[in-house]
């Protein structure tokens, strides 16, 4: 057999720690999962209808490479009304194949071999591999439970070197549920202002913020717009994961290279999904509110019960995950999850899958009905009793 060498950067990547638990869960019967990281809601019907209409009308060609202008205009007005951001729909917004494409393209556009990219962890499992594939060196900023998994200015400052090219932040955060408020982001901005560091702000969970004040984008702070790429999408806000539709917004100097790469990579984002996305932005506010309200009720119930059963859990204020500490059991994250699934058939994800600083924690998704969550929690409670003895 010939030896077709796989790209070295790819060979060096470790397989995801989440996969393993899905594989175990799939082999077993009667497993209750709290592990899935996507909305349990179906895409609201009027949004699906928009895509059906477009299909019936045969609007199935490529769109302009940057996405339909109508969609870019909707995105522009949405970012403005929700987060006071101002982007020209003509050349400061790029519609992408999910936020994932925007992230990947952004790293590849701006990272040169050996550049350092600051990444918060615990975080979404794709950041580190994407940086490595672009030739960059991920530098991990370990956020801490005692800081509610927010990034502090000191932690940021301590990791900046002459090679630092990009800071990637993602608040609200998967898997911790952490958010950052305006003053906290302002402290980061203060560190960044006199540097040449770019900020990639993954705000995919922006609509799932359960505090009284809504999400703040770092790009809206003084001096940040010029250096920030806002990366966002429709998956979490509108329950549109499978549509693969997202976007990047930023000053034209940052969007232009992205457009260049995007054209060669994918031509354009899926056309039918773009029609659905236009409808989502025009008429989806109530759906977003309804889902946030549902998630919020589940969140309160989940966190209250976790704390009551002795898994101390800081209050997650965003996304749809709780990130309780399991150190009191004396088990590692992996051991805990493995024992839990074999003994009581509940699938959750070890915190260590999201970076070393996630060790000692587990991620519990509340993207499930209250009934489902209740049953799973009853099992976890029984499991904790059993391992105590």
């Amino acid at each position: 057999m010939r030896d077709f060498k796989i790209n070295q950067n790819l060979s060096a990547l470790k397989p995801s720690g989440i996969r393993k638990f899905f594989d175990i869960a799939n082999e077993m019967k009667d497993v209750i999962s709290l592990s899935i990281g996507e909305p349990d809601f179906q895409t609201p019907w009027h949004i699906r209808q928009a895509a059906i209409d477009a299909t019936e009308q045969g609007k199935t060609w490529y769109s302009p490479s940057t996405g339909f202008l109508a969609l870019r205009e909707e995105i522009s007005s949405y970012l403005n009304r929700r987060f006071q951001l101002t982007y020209d729909p003509n050349d400061e917004i790029l519609v992408t194949v999910g936020a994932s494409e925007a992230l990947d393209a952004a790293f590849r556009c701006f990272v040169d071999e050996g550049d350092e990219v600051l990444i918060i962890q615990p975080s979404f499992v794709c950041y580190d591999p994407l940086v490595r594939m672009s030739g960059g060196i991920p530098v991990i900023l370990q956020t801490k439970a005692e800081n509610k998994f927010k990034l502090t200015a000191d932690e940021l400052r301590a990791n900046i070197t002459p090679k630092t090219k990009i800071l990637l932040i993602s608040f609200p955060t998967n898997p911790t549920g952490a958010i950052m408020e305006r003053e906290e982001l302002e402290a980061l901005a203060e560190v960044l202002r006199d540097t040449n560091i770019l900020v990639f702000s993954d705000e995919i969970y922006c609509e799932l913020n359960y505090t009284d004040t809504s999400h703040v984008s770092i790009a809206s702070l003084d001096g940040m717009r010029e250096r920030t790429l806002v990366i966002n999408g429709f998956s979490k806000s509108y329950a549109m994961t499978g549509w693969r539709i997202g976007y990047a917004a930023g000053p034209r100097e940052l969007i232009e290279p992205l457009v260049k790469l995007h054209q060669y990579m994918v031509m354009c984002a899926p056309t039918l999904s773009q029609f659905a996305a236009i409808e989502a932005m025009r008429n989806g506010d109530e759906d977003v509110q309804m889902m946030r309200n549902e998630y919020n009720m589940r969140r309160r119930y989940l966190v209250d019960r976790l704390n009551a059963m002795g898994l101390s859990c800081f209050e997650p204020e965003g996304a749809f995950y709780a990130f309780p500490c399991i150190r009191s059991t004396g088990l590692t994250s992996e051991e805990f999850c493995e024992k839990l699934i074999y003994a009581n058939q509940v699938a959750v994800v070890p915190g260590s899958a999201f970076g070393d600083s996630g060790e000692g924690f587990i991620r519990i998704s509340y993207s499930y009905s209250l009934k489902h969550i209740t049953e799973a929690l009853n099992r976890i409670e029984a499991f904790l009793e059993e391992i105590k003895q």
């Binding site: 979404f124 499978g242 309200n293 009720m297 009934k371």
Partner: protein, 160 residues
């Protein structure tokens, strides 16, 4: 519908304590709200949702479409009052469309229901005609799917 009513529609057995946690309210506030709903008649009761087909002796259900002559002054109220008092009758709705009252009737056997319609419903003064439809099977009731197997989770298990 507010969150409290929505939660009780899903599960009437939530304790006040649980409701308080989920709604981020004190137990006292939740208890008062419940009391108020009961007093105003918004909440008329708390019932189990039964899958009758699983009972040893499953009852028979029928929908009876009633055409009636409304009474001067009283309209449909008088006939509705008389129908709803009958214990065989589970629900009565005034309808827009081809007929006037939709009457859901429960009986032990089809014969029972047929006799009830023939002897008691169709003989009522203002009833012009009846049309009886027997229920063959129930799939969903009060928002609850009655089939046993859990709906499987179709979500892809993405590494996210």
């Amino acid at each position: 519908m507010d969150n409290l009513l929505g939660l009780l529609k899903q599960n009437a057995r939530y304790s006040v304590k649980e409701l308080a946690v989920i709604l981020n309210q004190s137990e006292e506030v939740v208890a008062k709200a419940l009391e108020a709903y009961e007093k105003q008649g918004v909440i008329k009761g708390y019932q189990a949702i039964l899958n009758y087909e699983k009972l040893d002796q499953a009852p028979v259900f029928a929908l009876i479409e009633l055409k009636v002559t409304p009474k001067k002054e009283l309209g449909f109220q008088e006939i509705a009052d008389r129908v709803m008092e009958m214990e065989e009758v589970e629900s009565v709705y005034l309808m827009a469309g081809d007929y006037d009252l939709a009457v859901f009737v429960k009986g032990k056997t089809m014969q029972d229901v047929a006799m009830f319609v023939a002897k008691r419903l169709s003989t009522l003064d203002s009833v012009l005609s009846t049309s009886t439809h027997f229920v063959l099977s129930r799939y969903k009731q009060d928002g609850v799917i009655l089939k046993d197997e859990e709906k499987s989770d179709l979500r892809g298990q993405m590494v996210v």
